[in-house]
């Protein structure tokens, strides 16, 4: 009987019920799609950056990640490689020899990271060789030459077949130099890979550095990247305390930060959505209860228990919530799945996308059942929670007072065929106006707040700035109300070029924002 009554009560004011259901559904669908989009971006960033070159994890000699130098090279690289390959969670592994060199051609030069790789094994771990767009990739250990990114090729005015001069420090401390032909140019659309990485066969690299045995890293691909934490633990135990196993979140701090940032954004939106759902459900349910005070009074008089009335109101909210969930999930998951197949082409925003390492022009939203389920459960619980107060109110009505209609709208208004009071809009507008004028000071403050908020107090900040500045200069700048419209002003450009580098290797940047004058049109906050 409770559910029959609940269904009929929900259908009683269809317009209100439809609006409530739609408000939940539209919010849920939007949120589902947004999270699918964020998950798609995150997955693409991780996939691209790890599969192009960083790999899922790397094994170094202890301390190498914090202070990468040839002094911390692994002498017995082959033995460590075998130990890593012996782990069941590892799908493939390969050795690398890495150092910083100066790459130059004619009067142009730039500092780059040079990697020696085993072409056959590297191809099993990463996909960099598939990204070659000019010249040829490596196919075997006997290949010669160097692969460079198109950003570096552009900066040094190089093409496949040109010679590149590398100068660095050899393993024994002497100066290492070599003239190597550019075998191919790759394009990953990851700025620091395309602009600052050179890859050559291991034999050539060993020869260049005079390091016949040493390797600096064992890069590996896991069978299940989701089990990274467990794999890192087991590998750490396997390779011993004098080595370190570093997962991609540590290897690629900018990717990890970006993903975290996206997730936080998602949670902020989620919180706002939950507040909207709460308000969207609480208001109509409370209205429905207030409108039916007399009816509840009659039901109580007939002997209906408080518990039944309480459950009735909650059941009505549950029905509305469930309908909103069904519709919202159908639309949200449907749209996410559809765009997951076709992708969303954001090529028009390529410059912005390049700020996030590993993000391609086309984003493929991802449907994650567990996330949709969690959101749905939360929305449903919120809908129920928002019905608790109205339900409690209905259940604790005093029958006599309720039958008298205490709490109902005045009976002076005209009543419709179903006994519903029609809205007398002009009268309400008059009452609302007079109420606003009752406390003029408060009304004036309320009206003026949006103007203050809309004043041109703005500040440019991207995730790299936020992470690198440790928020102090950011907070200081924001507290001063300084306007920044360009990333260059806060040194973000140079950081963005090095997102794959550990913080210790980043160039100094971020000039004092506090010293910058306010931009024209800005307000200083006092």
């Amino acid at each position: 009987m409770i559910w029959t009554l609940a269904v009929r009560n929900v259908m009683r004011n269809r317009r209100r019920s439809v609006i409530t259901v739609l408000s939940i559904a539209v919010g849920l669908a939007s949120l589902t799609f947004l999270w699918g989009f964020i998950d798609g971006m995150n997955r693409q960033m991780i996939n691209t950056t790890t599969r192009y070159f960083a790999a899922d994890a790397q094994v170094h000699l202890k301390g190498y990640h914090d202070d990468p130098s040839l002094d911390r090279a692994i002498e017995a690289g082959a033995r460590v490689l075998e130990m890593v390959r012996a782990d069941s969670s590892v799908a493939a592994a390969t050795v690398r020899l890495e150092t910083t060199v100066l790459a130059s051609r004619a009067d142009r030069s730039r500092g780059v990271l040079a990697f020696g790789v085993d072409p056959a094994q590297e191809a099993r771990v990463t996909d960099l060789f598939k990204a070659v767009v000019d010249g040829r990739s490596f196919s075997g250990a006997d290949d010669t030459g160097v692969l460079i990114g198109e950003g570096m090729a552009e900066a040094l005015a190089l093409r496949a077949g040109d010679d590149l001069v590398l100068v660095g420090q050899a393993y024994d401390g002497s100066v290492a130099s070599a003239r190597v032909p550019v075998r191919g140019v790759f394009r990953t659309k990851i700025d620091d890979l395309d602009g600052y990485v050179a890859v050559m066969p291991m034999a050539a690299m060993r020869d260049f550095l005079a390091a016949p045995e040493a390797v600096t890293a064992v890069a590996l691909r896991l069978r299940d990247r989701g089990a990274l934490g467990v794999s890192v633990e087991t590998l750490s135990a396997r390779v011993g305390a004098d080595h370190e196993v570093v997962g991609w979140p540590v290897l690629l701090p900018m990717v990890a930060i970006s993903i975290r940032f996206h997730e936080v954004m998602g949670f902020v939106v989620l919180t706002i959505f939950f507040v909207m759902v709460a308000a969207g459900v609480a208001n109509p349910v409370l209205m429905a209860v207030l409108e039916r005070t007399r009816e509840f009074g009659i039901m109580l008089a007939l002997g209906t228990s408080q518990s039944i009335l309480f459950r009735l109101v909650v059941a009505e909210a549950a029905l509305v919530g469930a309908a909103g969930l069904l519709l919202g999930n159908a639309v949200g998951l449907g749209a996410t799945a559809a765009f997951g197949r076709t992708g969303i082409d954001l090529g028009a925003f390529e410059a912005g996308l390049r700020a996030m390492p590993g993000l391609a022009d086309v984003i493929y939203p991802v449907v994650r059942a567990e996330r949709s389920l969690a959101i749905s459960v939360l929305v449903f619980l919120i809908a129920l929670a928002m019905a608790l107060y109205p339900a409690f109110r209905a259940a604790t009505l005093e029958p006599v007072a309720a039958i008298r209609g205490i709490g109902e709208k005045s009976s002076g208004g005209r009543r419709g065929s179903r006994g519903e009071t029609r809205t007398l809009l002009p009268v309400f507008a008059l009452i609302a106006t007079r109420n606003l004028l009752r406390n003029r000071k408060r009304s004036a403050i309320t009206v003026s707040v949006p103007r203050l908020r809309s004043s041109p107090t703005c500040f440019y900040m991207d995730s790299s700035t936020a992470s690198a500045s440790n928020s102090w200069t950011t907070r200081r700048a924001m507290s001063l109300g300084i306007c920044r419209s360009s990333a260059k002003d806060c040194g973000a450009t140079s950081r963005r070029n090095w997102p794959l580098m550990p913080p210790q290797r980043l160039p100094r940047c971020a000039p004092s924002l506090a010293s910058l004058p306010p931009r024209r049109g800005c307000r200083r906050k006092h």
Binding site: M1, L5, R8, N9, M11, R12, R294, E295, I298, M299, L300, A301, L302, G303, T304, S305, Q306, I308, P399, V400, I403, S417, R418, G419
Partner: protein, 233 residues
């Protein structure tokens, strides 16, 4: 002294409402006994205490002082839940307006109280159909309250009130919103139920037509019983 034929006993019941912290007396040390099979009209001007007395007898409200028995149970000391149970099992109500649950059909409204009582579905369906037929509502079982006239709604309310087989039915100005013909029909029906089935009715009214049909008239004024007269059957 309690006798088996007395089904409701009110002993020096006083009710004082508080409106904006100002005490408003509604009933003053009123004592009355209702016998099984009574057909009683509570008569008096507005504010005389008719509805208050009905509410107290029906367990919808509690007296400020005094005691009330329904059957052999004193209801003034009962908690909210127990009072609801008394109303469900022993009292039938008919209110002046908006009596019915609007989303239920006439049949479902009559069944509602039996459902709360736990009556088995087939039995309550049969009984509800029978009552509606008795009250002249055959063929209107599946109409919603909004599809019924005021008189028909009141008859459905009477059917619902007696469906629970209460010891007493308390209609509060049942004809106030009805035209004279509908009101007379309703009163005749209640009178018939009283005579044929022995159902006890205590109703408030200031409609002379209703008073005429009563077999016992209790006149109230300013919260006190002014007169209590019985009429020959």
């Amino acid at each position: 002294m309690w006798t088996p034929s007395i089904i409701v006993r009110v002993d020096k019941a006083t009710k004082v409402y508080q409106r904006d912290s100002i005490p408003v007396p509604a009933l003053h040390e009123t004592s009355v006994e209702i016998l099984a099979g009574d057909f009683v009209a509570l008569v008096g001007p507005s504010g005389s205490g008719k509805t208050t007395l009905l509410n107290l007898i029906g367990g919808l409200d509690r007296p400020t002082s005094g005691r009330i028995w329904v059957g052999d149970q004193e209801i003034t000391s009962l908690g909210r839940k127990a009072l609801a149970e008394v109303r469900l099992r022993h009292i039938g109500f008919v209110f002046q307006e908006y009596n019915l649950v609007p989303v239920l059909s006439a049949l479902e409204n009559v069944e509602y109280v039996m459902l709360l009582q736990g009556v088995e579905e087939a039995l309550r369906r049969t009984e509800a159909m029978r009552l509606l037929e008795t009250l002249g509502l055959a063929g209107m079982e599946h109409r919603r309250p909004s599809e019924l006239s005021g008189g028909q709604q009141q008859r459905v309310a009477v059917a619902r009130a007696i469906a629970a087989k209460p010891v007493i039915v308390l209609p509060d100005e049942p004809t106030a919103n009805l035209d004279s013909q509908s009101g007379a029909t309703l009163m005749d029906l209640m009178r018939r139920l009283n005579e044929e089935q022995g159902t006890t009715f205590v109703f408030s009214t200031h409609d002379p037509m209703v008073v005429e049909r009563a077999r016992r008239v209790i006149r109230l004024r300013d919260g006190r019983i002014e007169a209590d007269e019985r009429r020959p059957a």
